[in-house]
Amino acid sequence: MRTVNSLIGSPIERREDLRFLRGRGEYVDDLLREGLLYAAVLRSSVAHGRIRSLDVSAARALAGVHTVVTAAEVRSGSPENRIPRVPMRLQPLPEFEPVGQPVIAETKVRYVGEALAVVLASSAAIAEDALGLIEVDIEPLPAVAGRRASAKGEAFLFEERASNLAMKFHAVRGDTAIAFKDAPYVRRERFRTQRHMALPMEPRGLLARWDAAEGKLTVCGGAKVLFFNRRTLARHLGLPESAIELIENDVGGGFGARGEFYPEDFLIPFAARHAGRPVKWTEDRREHLMTVNHAREAECEVEIACTRDGAILGLRGHAHVDVGAYMRTNGAVGARNIAQFMSGPYRIENIDIDVSLWLTNKTPVGTYRGPGRFETDFFRERLLDMVARDLAIDRVELRRRNLVPQRDMPYPIATITPFESKDELDSGNYQVTLDRCLREIKWQEKARLSGKAIGGRYHGLAVGCFIEGGAAGPKETARIVLEPDGSFSVYVGSSAIGQGLETAFAQIAADALEVPLDRIRGVLHGSTAYVSDGYGAYHSRSVVMGGSAILAAADNLRAVIRAQAAERLGCAPGEVGIVEGEKAVAPNGRSVALGALSGAGISAEGAFLNKKHTYTYGAHAAHVAVDPKLGHVDLIDYVVVEDCGRIINPLTVHGQAIGSVVQGLGGAVMEHLQYDEDGQLLTGSLADYLIPTASDFPSIRAVVLEEHPSPINPLGAKGAGEGGIIAAGGVMANAIADALRDLAVEPRELPLTPSRIWELVQAGRSNAQSGQG
């Protein structure tokens, strides 16, 4: 382990703030190019149908319209005379091949929002005018409106497949048949989480420019996984990767959704090359809601078996995920995680959970912060509170008895098939974060408030434990350049999406190079020009992977500096000392300023390879007051405690935790993408899709610890950023259940909106009256 200097772990104010605060950030819609055309996409207003005809002649004739691209142009312009498809980036199983999304609809449409044509015009307004002139004739087919209709199989999204089941994953550990046979206590329940989405504040955008003379394509607006996207685009356009540069500008949030390869990531560059003019496309919010990856729509039927003392013997069940119309780049991750991580931080020796992925006529799904983990945590934590009540065991005590103890780590969790993935909980003391959380929320003092009505509002408390997986491999790359003026530039394959990379990585680099922070000239991230082989920002990997790659690059740079200095100073490289990052010194006292070593600068790359995941862990607790007449939940206090192994910048990791919790609370009580029976998206604007505002959750506290570094990387870091969201659904639902327990309210479904809570109260009342329980 490295010794710490004052930079890692310091609450350094962020460098990127300077331009953001002045309004000098550069997001893709801020960019302008000469001769720019503006793109608008015609989207299907029918959820399921056969395309009979598409007439773009009136649109083409509108003054100001330059080009209209349809499936015909895409097909004839593609190297294999076919419509390219969005590839699977994660879990690219052959089963998903036939249900991948074509970048433009050709014979069928399968969700409201699917792209039908792209108009290029001299202004965005004219392009949008032209959309209204395109005549599209679609023969409507019955919409597969949800997972039950999908399973029924009366209508198929892909007729040739004769099934709407995209895949089934299976998580297994031990032997549940034995565990459940003769188990002293078993409880079976059904739970459901709703479709919602990441909703970053900046809508997507792309600016593509094809230089015919050079044969080079430049695309701005990238994020998250630019290297994979470049490979994909190169293949679909029939270009070598070296001919394409993807540039990451400032990015207005990602949370897993932005940066994956979407149909537009092909269509806009294609259109630019086709038209021979640079093209800018900026999504509007209505489009965003119907085209960017949806997430989280899942239900399960699960059974838990325990001893009378509350020790969990086994967990088994069936989960179902509504994945929408196609399998996009990472559409299977959430589903897979539901099965694999239902055990969470708890020791459950026998597990058997399968999860089915159902195709429906809705927007395709992808990852959203803590994918599958938010859902499965809700399922499990609700079940645990029910178990505690049944067995008359304190809810905290039940959790204590079952948390994986430190001595059992690394602790293997359920194995997932297919795409076999074996995972282990790496390190940590889960009792410590639970203890700290209970202390922070003042659990002992507040326990007496459970279920009490004060001033017409019922008070409730809940606590829940979670793990957050991070550090997805396989690799990340960094490059550090010693500039002629003696400063250092850091290039890294990780992507910035608001998490403060430019500052955190500067801290890591400065620490590794043993120089003051201001000697790091800048951290350049994301764009494909910066490193030879990058991976990006997902699965809470940036600090572990990018940070560790920076350490490797720093080591390599120091070696190169020593070698070059040795030549100058006439000694062996191993004899060279680097003093305060400013000069190289030989044993005979001769020295040379680092910047003077090379007029062109000295550069070295480094990489970090990784096959194992890290597990940040912790606990959340909530204190709520519920008005049963309004169904309104007042969040009186909320605490999240997490141990993330090693804290690089306490300011930013704390900010991530709070932001993540608030997203989770939005998912718990208000966010919901709703469709009708015809597959029409009813929540088409921010007036209907509700996210938390400043007045909704005024009291949230986060405590971030670093007591158990990860053993699998030189920084000792684990990922951070997703833990705040993971436990929020389960904890809020349990707090509401605790508050309303005397009213026989048992929430089993999210979101817990005022209307739903009120309905639960009414149902509880009428059950009580009729003698049902």
Partner: protein, 288 residues
């Protein structure tokens, strides 16, 4: 979401504005724009001509007299909240306006715009109906007065003719000692009400209620006077029993629809709760 193309005019007199509205079939008046511009952005409205009323200074006045309060159509929510006189002259209006949308919207949204837009969940139409306001309009054939109770005919639909502009709304005089309450519940602060209730009453000797007025917002296709509630209140004292009966009467008097935000049953129950809590507030309020 760029707007469709339209012509734009910015008249300097009311007569000019009316003439412009009358000159085209699909001309629309533009007041604060807080409701109209989003509709244009979604292309739900495609007027050929927008007539901007911002230069009509005479529509910006708030006049308070013994006859009551007159609000010019271009008076902004912000102007109402900033006007200290209204704390006594129309406290119910002020309380309702404080719930309208958000800070930025209140700096531009107008009384006339809200009335003309007629969103069933908006506060101003509800206040106008509850207080039996008079809405004065001007069209090419002259001026007329439309009673608030007859002004709102359906969701986003009013009795205004295509060439008519709201000039002002008149709220009756508000006697000292009047008791009032306004309760609204929305998903988040500033969202459209899931349901809201506005109530006021005077007290006779002996503390009995008279002249009760109760209005419901957000539970029908237009704001509703709750006569059933008023009948319960008049002649009684306001005690727990009265409030419970008023709650029940409100629930029975409405027939709301369910939507993506709330079920019908919930809304029905909610309006009763809003009435009850508005009455509670009225009862316990310190009268200025």
């Amino acid at each position: 979401m760029k707007m469709p193309p339209f012509d734009y005019a910015c008249p300097t007199t009311l007569l000019e504005a009316v003439a412009l509205l009358a000159s085209r079939d699909d001309a629309k008046a533009l007041a604060g724009g807080q409701s109209l511009v989003p509709m244009l952005a979604f292309r739900l409205a495609q007027p050929a001509l927008l007539v901007d009323l911002r230069k009509l200074a005479e529509l910006r006045k708030i006049t308070i007299s013994a006859d009551g309060v007159r609000l010019g159509a271009m008076v902004r929510w912000r102007d109402i909240l900033d006007d200290d006189r209204l704390t006594t002259a129309q406290p119910l209006l002020k309380a309702a306006v404080a719930e309208v949308a958000h800070y930025q919207i209140r700096n531009r949204g107008t009384v006339g715009g809200s009335l003309a837009h007629a969103d069933p969940a908006a506060e101003m139409p509800g206040i106008a109906v509850t207080c039996e306001a008079e809405i004065h309009v001007r069209g090419k054939s002259g001026s007329r007065m439309i009673k608030a109770g007859e002004f709102f005919v359906g969701p986003l639909m009013t009795a205004l003719a295509a060439d008519e502009i709201i000039v002002e709304v008149r709220l009756p005089a508000w006697p000292a000692g009047r008791r009032w309450g306004f309760q609204e519940f929305a998903r988040r602060r500033g969202d459209f009400a899931l349901a809201a209730a506005a109530v006021f009453y005077d007290e006779e000797d002996g503390g009995k209620i008279c002249n009760a007025h109760a209005g419901a917002i957000g539970v029908a296709d237009r704001p509703l006077r709750l006569h059933a509630v008023e009948n319960i209140l008049n002649g009684r004292r306001l005690d727990d029993d009265t409030m419970a009966k008023a709650d029940a009467a409100a629930c029975a008097a409405v027939n709301p629809d369910g939507d993506i935000h709330a079920s019908a049953a919930y809304r029905r129950a909610l309006v009763g709760t809003m009435v009850e809590r508005a009455l509670k507030a009225a009862h316990s309020r310190q009268i200025v």
